[in-house]
């Protein structure tokens, strides 16, 4: 599997990272280098092997479904680049 310029553009979009058109070729080359390194994994026989989802066997704890926190609007907005009237402000979403 190899990444061409179009795939690089698609990957950059998936990652929501703006990459100028004239840098896509170089990006594709870099990503191919890393993916080439990963190709070694194809040598491993993984038939019947379970994918690891938790490195230590543990059962997630449960707790009562109740509100345990809240009433801190000011703190939550304190680091926002743009906060107005108790909300996060963003550029127009719908035309």
């Amino acid at each position: 599997m190899s990444i061409d310029k179009d795939t690089a553009r698609k990957v950059a979009h998936l990652a929501r990272i703006e990459v100028p058109e004239d840098q896509l070729e170089a990006l594709a080359g870099e990503l191919n280098g890393i993916l080439g390194f990963m190709e070694q994994l194809n040598e491993v026989d993984v038939d019947g092997v379970e994918p690891m989802t938790s490195v230590t066997p543990m059962r997630l704890k449960r707790r009562a479904d109740v509100v345990t926190d809240g009433d801190q609007q000011d703190k939550i907005l304190a680091n926002a680049p743009d906060a107005r009237e108790g909300f996060f402000a963003v550029p127009k979403v719908v035309e």
């Binding site: 599997m1 990957v11 390194f37 230590t56 963003v90």
Partner: protein, 495 residues
């Protein structure tokens, strides 16, 4: 009084309790060392006033006679830990100016123990790197230099600022985090001790996430005993981290008897790499001899999937990072890109992330997005998860055969020069983690112990890998190794 900054935690604890020194004196010595250390770029933020306030409170507590071990001990905190009201940026421009409204669990435990914060420590951006060179602050510098050279060397990464600060006596100890070797590799490069606990031993809450199934915080200290004391303070279950283990935490310091008679130590043959420097070979063999002389039995073991650990890691860690770093969108905190007329929220997201993330972080986020994308998920991500199962099983088989711990080199080389890898393939930098990354994939505890110097006078370390939840036994073996090696060298102060 001068030179107090060079104390170990254990010695400082005793002197504080006997009133030979005060926490304020100790903190002033450290503040002065930090103030004079700009050439090392170890600290991204200095908090000397806060440190003095904490030291005064510690002295009051010490006066009452029931102070915990870390009461009055000045520490540096890796920039990955959220500290209330103090910039916490993960060495990234995308978190420029971010001042958390909350405190991480690890640092909360440290301050509750009476410890003192000297400032925040430099690191690779979002902990992605092995040389500190991906930091938005510029790379921290290793206090060590090659004999007869003034070339700046890397302190390693990602916890490079922590390693430089501990090694250069700019604090008594520091926090680090380790996702693929980020505590153990910099510890080895700077002649200090670094511990990566078992996954789940230490709460991850409030630590800026890189790869959540691999990240674990741990101590970076001058001695094994200091690491044991430090780990006592930060280990334990936390309801705010669902992956933290709800199990009893032993007294790690009390386990340091130095008696390792009858312990079985494995040497994995797959860690003998082609082209490994003879000095590293010798360091490893010498370490095995030291443990044998201390009464341990040395056996050869096999971890057959070792060579697949790095490629599996470089699928899994970027995949998790691409999800974790999706939150940096310019809305809730940190940097937001300026827009041109007519542009909207989509341009804001993509430009904010292009401006805020450095090249290595961008690379990993994109690799992660690719291996998780439809059509490639099974071929890359799912396969890497399967290989991870096999890597963990390798260790389980070795431990089931009666082996108590595994001895390996910590790094494939001594510290290299800053800029030396600038033109290298990214994959070449990844090879720094070849001996450490298996431990994260298997969720095991590991410790790096300085045991010698190379021909250029640079420190080298050995790694001990323990059984899950057996940090106490692992640290005792590390303590025996430390006693035998007798590593006491320090970098000559040039900064």
């Amino acid at each position: 009084m001068s030179g107090l900054n060079t104390l170990t935690i254990a010695d400082a604890r005793d002197k504080l309790r006997s009133k030979e020194i005060s926490a304020v004196e100790l903190t002033e010595a450290c503040n002065a060392a930090v103030a004079g250390s700009d050439a090392l770029k170890a600290y991204s933020v200095k908090t000397p006033e806060m440190a003095l306030e904490q030291a005064k409170a510690a002295d009051a507590r010490l006066g009452q006679g029931d102070a915990p071990d870390l009461c009055g001990i000045p520490l540096g905190i890796k920039d990955l830990f959220c500290t209330k009201g103090v910039e916490s940026q993960a060495a990234s421009n995308i978190l420029a100016g971010f001042k958390p409204e909350y405190e991480s669990t690890v640092t909360t435990k440290l301050w509750d123990s009476g410890a003192v914060m000297l400032g925040k420590l430099n690191m690779d951006e979002f902990a992605m790197g092995s040389s500190n060179e991906t930091s938005a602050y510029g790379a921290a510098v290793n206090p060590w230099r090659r004999q007869g050279s003034d070339a700046a060397l890397t302190p390693g990464g990602s916890s490079g600022g922590s390693a430089a600060a501990v090694s250069g006596d700019l604090c008594l100890a520091a926090t680090g985090t380790d996702t693929g070797g980020s505590i153990r590799q910099p510890a080895a490069f700077t002649g200090i001790v670094g511990v990566k606990p078992t996954y789940g031993r230490v709460s991850r809450w409030g630590i800026i996430a890189f790869a959540s199934s691999l990240d674990q915080a741990g101590p970076m200290t001058k001695t094994v005993r200091d690491s044991a004391i430090f780990l006592n303070a930060i280990a334990g279950h936390d309801a705010k981290d669902s992956t933290s283990a709800d199990m009893a935490v032993p007294d790690f310091e009390a386990a340091l008897t130095g008696d390792i008679r009858g312990r079985k130590i494995g040497l994995p043959k797959e860690y003998r790499l082609d082209g490994m420097p003879a000095e590293i070979e010798k360091l490893w063999a010498d370490g095995a001899d030291m443990l044998r002389d201390a009464g341990a039995e040395i056996v050869d073991v096999s971890l057959p999937h070792t060579k697949y650990a790095l490629p599996a890691y470089y699928v899994l860690a970027p995949a998790e990072a691409s999800s974790n770093l999706a939150r940096y969108d310019g809305v809730r905190y940190g940097h937001r890109a300026k827009l041109q007329k007519g542009e909207g929220i989509h341009e804001m997201y993509a430009r904010t992330r292009a401006e805020g993330f450095g090249p290595e972080v961008q690379r990993r986020v994109m690799i992660g997005a690719y291996v998780l994308s439809a059509g490639f998920y099974d071929a890359y991500y799912r396969r890497a998860q399967r290989v991870r199962t096999l890597i963990k099983k390798d260790f389980e088989d070795v431990y089931a055969s009666g082996v108590d711990a595994i001895l390996t080199p910590a790094t494939p080389s001594a510290a290299f020069g800053l800029g030396e890898m600038a033109d290298a393939d990214p994959v070449k930098m990844y090879l720094n983690d070849v001996f450490t990354v298996t431990v994260n994939l298997a969720g095991l505890p590991g410790v790096s112990v300085p045991t010698g110097l190379d021909s250029q006078g640079l420190p080298l370390g050995l790694q001990l890998i323990g059984k899950p939840w057996e940090e106490a036994d692992m640290l005792n073996t590390a303590y025996a190794l430390e006693q035998s090696a007798g590593f006491v060298s320090k970098a000559d102060k040039w900064w």
